[in-house]
Amino acid sequence: MAHVVQSLDQPSNYKDSQARVDRQKQNELLAKSSTLYVGNLSFYTTEEQIYEVFTKCGSPEDGGGVKRIIMGLDRNTRTPCGFCFVEYYTHAEALASMRYISGTKLDERIIRCDLDLGYKDGRQFGRGRSGGQVRDEHRQDYDPGRGGWGAQAQRAEIERRREVEERYADANGMAAGGGGDWKEINAPPTEQTLKRGRSPEDDASGARQGQRARMDEPDPEAERM
C-alpha cells in the first residue's frame, strides 16, 4: 500500500561518505537494518528518555525490543552533541519508528529518524570541525536545547547540563552489545565468546586492541549529519 501516498519508512537519500561499501550494498543493508540514526536531539536529552519513546515501537512478543542506544558525543568534550543511534533487535521495529516516531517531539524538539547502516565503534563521535555535529557548524540561531549560541545555556537547563557534562567523561567509543539471541546455557565452552551477548560484528572484528587504538584518534567524520 503505497500507491496513493508515500510510506514514511523509506530511508532518506543520505549517503554515509565514510562507509566502505558501495551504494547497492548500502541499500541492501538498509533493507534489513534494525538501527536508526536519530537527529535533532537536545544536548540534554538522556538515553532513558530516548528509551521511553523508542520502546513504544518495540515488539518483544516477536523477539524484539530496544537492543542498545548509543549517544552521539562531541569528540573533544565527550558531551552529547544532539544525535544518537537506536538499535533494535528487528528491522520491523526500526521501520515502525520511522513511521510513528520520526517527526514527533522528544524533550520538546521534533526529532528525525533515518534508517542506518548499523553502528560501528567510533561513529558515536561528532564529525564537525569543533567536535560536534557538522550541522551545528552551520547553525546561526540561538537554540537553548543545543547549548545556546555555543556555551550559554538557559538558567533552567543549568542543572541538567552539569549532569550531562559529567556523564560521558569515561566514554571510549566502545559500545556495549545489549544482549544477543537466546543460547542454551550448557553449550560447549567454544561458544563462550558468543554468550557475552555482543553483536556479531563486534565479535567478528576480534581486533579489540586495534579498535581501541583507533578510538584515541577518532575518525573525524565518524558520525553522520
Partner: protein
Amino acid sequence: MSYDRPYNNRRRNRDDYERREVYETPEQKLRTAIIRLGEVDVVQEIPRVVKQIREQAAGSVPAISEGFRIGVTEQPYKIPYYANLLRLLHDPAEGEPEPSTSGSPSLGKQILEDFWKGFQAFLDKLSWRETRLCIHFFAHLTMAKVITVQSMSSLLQSFVAVLDEFGVSHGRAKRAGLCAAEGLMIAGKTLKEESVTNVTDIIDAIQTYIESTASSKRLVQPVALFHANLDSLENADELLESALAVLKALNSADFSESVDSYPQPYADLPDLPDGAAAFELPSVLVPPEIIELDGLSADTGEEAQVKKEEWPEYYIRLFENEVTPNPVSPAGYAVRSALLDIVEIFEVNRKECARLLLEYPKWTLPGTFKPRPGTPAELQPEPVPGKNWQLESALMEIVLGALFVLPQSTYKAIYYIGLITEICKLSPSTVGPAVGKSIRKLYASLADGLDVEIGRRFAEWFAIHMSNFGFQWVWKEWVSDLSLSHNHPKRGFARRAVEFEIRLAYFERIAKTLPEAFQAEGASVLPEHAPGPDFEYDEPSNPYHNAAQSVLNLLKGRAKADDVLAHLESLKTAIGETADGDVNVDAVGRSVAVQSLLNIGSRSFSHFLNAIERYLPVLRSLAQGGPEAKTDILTAVSLFWKRNRQMIAIVFDKLMQYQIVDPTDVVGWTFTNGVGNERGSSEGSSVINAHDWDLLKGALDKANGRVLVARRRVTALRKEEDDTRARAKASGGGDVASMEVDAEIKPDEPESAVLTTAVKAFTSLTSQQKSTLARALEGFITCLGSASSDGQAGPVAPDVVTEKAWHNRANWTDEEWNTWETWGWYRHFCRAYSPYLRNYSTTLGTVSLNKLEGSTDPAALQIMKIWNVATGEEA
C-alpha cells in the same frame, strides 16, 4: 528555524542531482488520473477522466482496471464516484455504434471483467479489507444497474456461508460477516426488491453467529463489570453487532435510508444502453484459511500459531449521538466505518492520514458534518436532522476507539497517538477542544469500571500527547479527586500519567506544570525527588557500607571478574563471622554485588549495559543458587531503582536478555515481591497493579518472543536443508539408477548439527514458555482465589466482583480497589495471552485450576469462567 535553511538547500540540491527524473508512460499517466480522481471537484472531473480514458483505452484495459483497483481499495471514500465513472464507460463513445450493433462489449464491461480478476486475487489471499472494499464497489455498481442483482446477491451469500463453517475462527467469521453486511447496506434496496428472503437470510445468519459469541464478548468489553452479563453496553459498541443493528433498521424501512448514508452520484443516470447486458459476477467460494504446518508443535500436539483479532471488536463511545455519528444508525455506521478504513489504510503515513481524515467531509453527503468555522453562510449546506456532526470529535472518538480495542489494537498504540498529534497539528484550534473533552470523558469513566488495560493506554496516550504539546493540561480541575482513596483508578491515573510525563521529560519540567495541590506530598502524584538510583549501602551507617565500598572500588578499577568473585567470597565469610543473629550471607552478598554493579552503571542505559557486560561472569555466578538467588538479584534491582520504575523494567529486561534470570523468575518475583513498590510495603494481600503488569508483560512477551524466533529459525533451517537435498537430488540426474539410490538414502540422512541444536533450543524455550505462563496463572489464582491454601488472597477478593459491592464502590478503600485492579489484570492476562494459553490449556488447567474445581465460591467461579472463555472451552 533559520539554521535549517542553508543545510536543507544544500541537501535538496544533492537529492535532485541524485534522483533521476521520473517519466510516466501513457499507461501510468492514465492510472494516475484514475487514482487522483476528485482531488479538486469530483463531480466536475468525472467527464474529463471518462474522456481521457476513452482516448487512450486501446490496449490499456489492464492499466485502467489497475487504477480502479488501487482507487477502490486504497481510497474507499471515492468508491461511489468510481462506480459513477465505470457506469459512464458503459455508454458508447460519441460516434460509436450502440453495443447491440457493434457486438463487442463496452469499455466499461472490459474493465469490470479485468477488475474482477483483481478481486479474485484479493479473495484468494484472504486480503479481507481489499475484498470488502471491492464488495462496496460491486454493491454501488449494482445500484447503478451495471451488475445484476442476482449475481450480487449470490456473492454476498458466499460470504454468509462462512459463518456456518464448522469451527470457524472468530476473526474469519467477523470479516466475512462484515463483507456481506456492508454490501447489503449499500445495495439492499435493489436486493430486497429482487428477493426478500435473500435479504432476511443474510441478516438472520449474522444474528445467529453473534448469539454464539456471547461469552467472549464479556472478556473484551471496555467496561469491566465482573458481576454483570451485559449483552450491550451504554458507551461502547461491538462492530459486527452494530452492523447487524444497522441492517435491521434499514430492512425495516426497505433500505430507503441507504440513500441518506451513501452518496449515489450515479443515481440519475439512465439504464445501460440497449443491448448492453448487466455484468454477471461469477460465483465464488471464500477459500479456507491456510494453516501452516511446520511440524513444530507444543507439547499438547497443537499448533502454536498465534492468531490475533479473534475477539469481538468493541469501540468506545465518548460523545452523544448529536455530536458524533451513532454506530448503530445507518448513516452513522457508514461514516464511522469509512473513517476507520482511512485510519487503517494510511497507517504507512500518519501525516497524510491526518490530512485525509480532516478532508473526509467533502466525500460525504452534504450536511453530514458541521461546516468548518469561518465557512461563508451561503456555502453552508442545510444541516441534516440526525447528522450535522462535529468532525473533530468524531475523529477523536474513532481514533481513540481503535486505540482502545481489546485485547490489542490493530497497530501499535504509538501509531494512533502519533495520528492524533498530526490531526492536532493540522487544525489546533478545532481539534484541541475535542482532545480536551475526550480526556475528561475518559477520566470520568475511570470511576465506572473502565478496563484496566484501557486505563493504561489512556495514561500512555495522555503523557505522549502532552509531551508533544508543551505539557499543557489543566490539572486544577482534578484537584478535588485527590480526596479519593489512594488507589482509586482516578488517582492511579494521575500518578501514572505524571510518571510517564517525567520519563519523557524530566522532573522539574513536569513539576512546574502541576498545581500546588498535586505537588503536595500527601497527593503522592509527584515523587519527592527526581527519579534516580538509591544505593542502599551509600549510608556510612549501613552495616555493609564498608563491604559495598570495597566491591565498588574493585568494579570502578575494572578488576577482573574472577577477582571480584574471590573478593565477594571473602566478604561473605567475614560477614558470617562478625554478624550478630541470623544473617543470610548469600543474600547479603548478592545484594551488595548487584547494587554495586548497578551503581557503576547508573549514569545511563549504556553505562548499565557496559557494566553488566563486563561482569557477566559475576552475575552468572551470583544467579547460581536456585530460585532464591534469582529472587535476591531481582529484589536488589528493585531496591536500587525504587525511585525509577522505568529502570526496573529496563534492567529486568536486560537480565532476561543476558540470561541471568528467566522470564519465569521475573513472573514469580512480581507476584511475591512486586507489590511492594507502589504501596511502599509488601505487607498485606498480594495484588497486581499496573506497574506489576508491565513487568509481567515484559517477561511473558520475552518468553513468547523467544519461542517465535526459535520456531522461525528451525523452519528456515529445515527449508534450507530440504532445498539442498532437492538440489543434490536434481544434480544427480541423468543416471536413473543412481537417482533411485539417492532417493532412498536422502530422507534418512540425519539433519545437520545446526538444525539439531535449533530444534533443541525450540524445545527448551517451549517448555520455558509453558512454565512462565503457568507461573503467571498460578500467581493470579493465589491473588484472587480464596480457596487457595496459603491465604495470600485478599479477604475482599470474592466481594469486589459482586453486584452489591460494585454499587457500593464510592465507599471502597484501597484494598477493594487493589483487588478490583488485580481482577482486571487477570482478565487481561487471559484474553491477551489466550492464543498461547489455548496451546497449554489442558496441562495448565489441570495443574492450577484443579483446586478450584467444585468450589461454589464466587471468586473461584469467576476465575474459572474467565479462564474457560479465554481458552475457548466456553464460547
